[in-house]
């Protein structure tokens, strides 16, 4: 009797479990730096991806070619902001059932990594990896052009800083000079000062009266601050990540340097800067493609916070990428089987390539033919230990 009961119970349990077993899942891999000194970027992206997947699945998941529903799943792979590890991670992801990957964090990983992908789709002579990537964080300009398998949802720093300096010219007409501080050994910081901020400042009539350079793990900024003090600039622009931004701001405070305007690097519009030096950062203005200024953005920020992350311009892009991919998968008609994996990847790539506009958290994002994006942005300023919108060019 007991054996019969056990058998019956087992059959009922198995039948109840069958729909779950039969349920198709579509995997979207995430990758980037989730450990190491810039690990917070990857941790925030990972939390944003998990929160986005939870929302999408709660709303019914995605629709496959045969009309059935599939749930999304995601797994985050750590590349430690190291190019070799990034390449190895991507090769590993490509061997899994992932339909697409979202990442990486660092531009110094993105550049060589995109180089291992097939440059032009359908080029039989190019044996590069045929795997779609939708970048959320690595922000250095123009990288999507390396491969037609790469799409990016990162803001255009050139556009944002151009607009920022135009706004500064109009808002602070008595400011004439600028001093640039740059973290010389970090690709993004260097690129942004020398190729973006400096060019934009000069274009809008600001005179560059000096430059101070330091390295990512420097602990002494007195020489640079002295040069800054002597130059007496109206504006100080700091193109550096939070640790040295804070170090420099503290040194400026110590040497009683108070410019009329402080401008920071996009990546510093984060919780890290405020955790490190909220008082000294007071008034720091940064252009960013994310701020919780509307209901959708506030909802996303809360959902990511519930997963232990913080939504900033980088992790907001990870959230947006998953929402865009949900719509892309729905439209692309993928099959979601092991046999269709490569053709599904291709369909997703093609569907991403066909997009002209997508909805983002701050409004409509324009998709460009080279895989880059033009995103709405706001200017935020550090105020009372938080980031407040000081100007919204879109409003």
């Amino acid at each position: 009797m007991k054996l019969k009961n056990f058998a019956a119970a087992s059959i009922v349990t198995m039948m109840a479990a069958m729909p779950a077993l039969a349920e198709t899942t579509i995997k979207i891999a995430g990758f980037g730096a989730s450990s190491g000194v810039v690990g917070i970027f990857g941790q925030n992206s990972s939390a944003a991806m998990q929160a986005a997947v939870e929302k999408i699945n709660a709303e019914g998941g995605v629709t496959l070619a045969n009309g059935s529903k599939a749930m999304l799943e995601t797994e985050y792979y750590d590349d430690r902001c190291n190019a070799e590890e990034g390449i190895s991670v991507l090769r590993r992801i490509a061997t899994t059932n992932a339909a697409i990957a979202v990442g990486p964090t660092c531009s110094n990983v993105a550049e060589p990594l995109f180089g291992i992908l097939q440059a032009k789709v359908d080029d039989a002579g190019d044996t590069g990896l045929q795997f779609p990537i939708f970048t959320d964080v690595a922000i250095k300009g123009g990288l999507a052009g390396i491969s037609e398998w790469v799409f990016r949802n990162t803001p255009s720093e050139a556009t944002m800083y151009d607009d920022l300096f135009a706004w500064l010219r109009a808002t602070y007409p008595d400011t004439k000079t600028i001093f640039g501080g740059v973290e010389e050994d970090f690709a993004h910081s260097r690129f942004t000062w020398y190729s973006v901020m400096k060019a934009a400042a000069e274009k809008h009539g600001f005179e560059v009266v000096g430059e101070g350079q330091w390295l990512l793990n420097d602990t002494n900024f007195s020489n640079q601050a002295r040069a800054m003090r002597r130059a007496e600039p109206d504006i100080v622009a700091i193109s550096a990540h939070p640790f040295t931004t804070c170090g420099m701001l503290r040194e400026m405070d110590r040497q009683k340097i108070s410019p009329k305007v402080l401008v920071g690097l996009t990546s510093s519009s984060s919780l890290e800067t405020l955790t490190g030096c909220a008082n000294e950062a007071e008034g720091l203005i940064i252009p960013t493609s994310f701020a919780p200024v509307n209901d959708a953005a506030k909802y996303a920020a809360d959902a990511v916070a519930a997963k232990g992350g913080a939504l900033d311009l980088h992790s907001a892009a990870a959230w947006e990428n998953f929402m865009i991919l949900r719509d892309v998968i729905n439209a692309a008609g993928i099959e979601g089987t092991a046999e269709s994996l490569q053709s599904d990847r291709r369909k997703i790539r093609d569907a991403l390539g066909a997009l002209d506009t997508v909805e983002g958290l701050l409004g409509t994002n324009k998709r460009l033919p080279d895989g880059e994006a033009v995103k709405p942005y706001v200017f935020v300023g550090a105020k009372d230990g938080g980031w407040a919108v000081v100007h919204n060019p879109g409003s």
């Binding site: 690990g39 010389e184 002494n220 640790f243 804070c246 170090g247 110590r254 490190g276």
Partner: protein, 296 residues
């Protein structure tokens, strides 16, 4: 040579010498351990950083005045130093000197990763004292906080000297450093002396970590590698095993770093510091005060 350049040169030298005392403390820690055990502890910089975080964590739990935060940082680093001793040196066979060295490399990576994991790699404000104080001598500014860092580091060195030359523990430490077998035959517990050396070095490292963070005003895991590299350069220049050498080496590296930054810019600065290291390694491998005497 224009006037401002001359002022900048003096200012760079002063700042470098004051900040160089933190390098000297790190160098002393490396050299103490090497002097007693004839082994390099490469996890030393990471342990110093971890200890500095212990002080900061204590300040998060309960508000503490800066001096107490520094003290807890030093103590925390001392405890971690002891753990490093147990994990990497106590039980590794002395017949395989590379084993302890490589174990300490493993420990360096482990501690570094643990700190990054627990702190999420975030920079945190670290308390400093006399932050806005300064002494002005004409155009030269002497930063109050750096002067404090200098004072604490000098005080630590004085206490260390007192410990080494005026106490029985110091006598035992020097005995083990010079003749470990003879010291053991005389009844000195070499194991305990070794362990205490790690604790004392850890306390010095924690003080250096705390003073570095206090000088910047921010604590970040990024500092660990810099502490390790600078400490090793200091002991090579000063001479492995020599405390006066570590002090002079620390001040030299601090000054050279700042002066070369002024003269050649930040991107070339480290080239010249490394060149200095290379010159010492080739022309004077024992460093300035390296002990050329052997031991049993």
């Amino acid at each position: 040579m224009d006037y401002y350049f001359f002022i900048d040169l003096i200012q760079s030298l002063v700042d470098g010498l004051l900040f160089g005392t933190t390098y000297a403390l790190i160098g002393i820690g490396f050299t103490l351990i090497f002097g007693v055990m004839r082994k390099l502890n490469l996890a030393y910089g990471a342990a110093a950083l971890a200890g500095t975080y212990v002080g900061l964590a204590a300040a998060f739990v309960t508000p503490l005045p800066p001096i107490l935060v520094f003290f807890v940082s030093a103590l925390g680093s001392g405890v971690i130093g002891y753990i490093v001793y147990l994990g990497c040196f106590r039980y590794t066979p002395s017949s395989h000197p590379m084993a302890a060295l490589l174990a300490s490399v493993g420990m360096l990576l482990f501690i570094d990763e643990l700190v990054i994991h627990l702190s999420h790699g975030m920079p945190y404000p670290y308390p400093s004292v006399l932050r806005n104080a300064e002494i002005t001598l004409g155009e030269i500014w002497i930063r109050g906080d750096l002067l404090f860092v200098f004072g604490i580091c000098v005080l630590s060195m004085v206490i260390l000297y007192w410990l080494l030359y005026r106490t029985s523990l110091g006598l035992a430490t020097r005995a083990v450093s010079q003749q470990p077998r003879a010291a053991q035959l005389c009844g000195i517990p070499t194991g305990q002396v070794n362990a205490l050396t790690f604790v004392i070095s850890g306390v010095l490292g924690g003080t250096a970590g705390a003073m570095t963070a206090a000088a910047v005003g921010v604590l970040s895991p990024i500092i660990a590698m810099s502490l390790t590299t600078k400490g090793l350069i200091v002991v090579v220049i000063g001479g492995l095993g020599s405390i006066p050498g570590a002090i002079i080496g620390g001040l030299m590296v601090g000054a050279a770093e700042n002066v070369f930054q002024l003269l050649r810019g930040v991107t070339e600065r480290d080239i010249y510091v490394m060149l200095l290291l290379f010159i010492f390694l080739t022309l004077r491998p024992g460093g300035l005060f390296g002990n050329t005497e052997g031991r049993d």
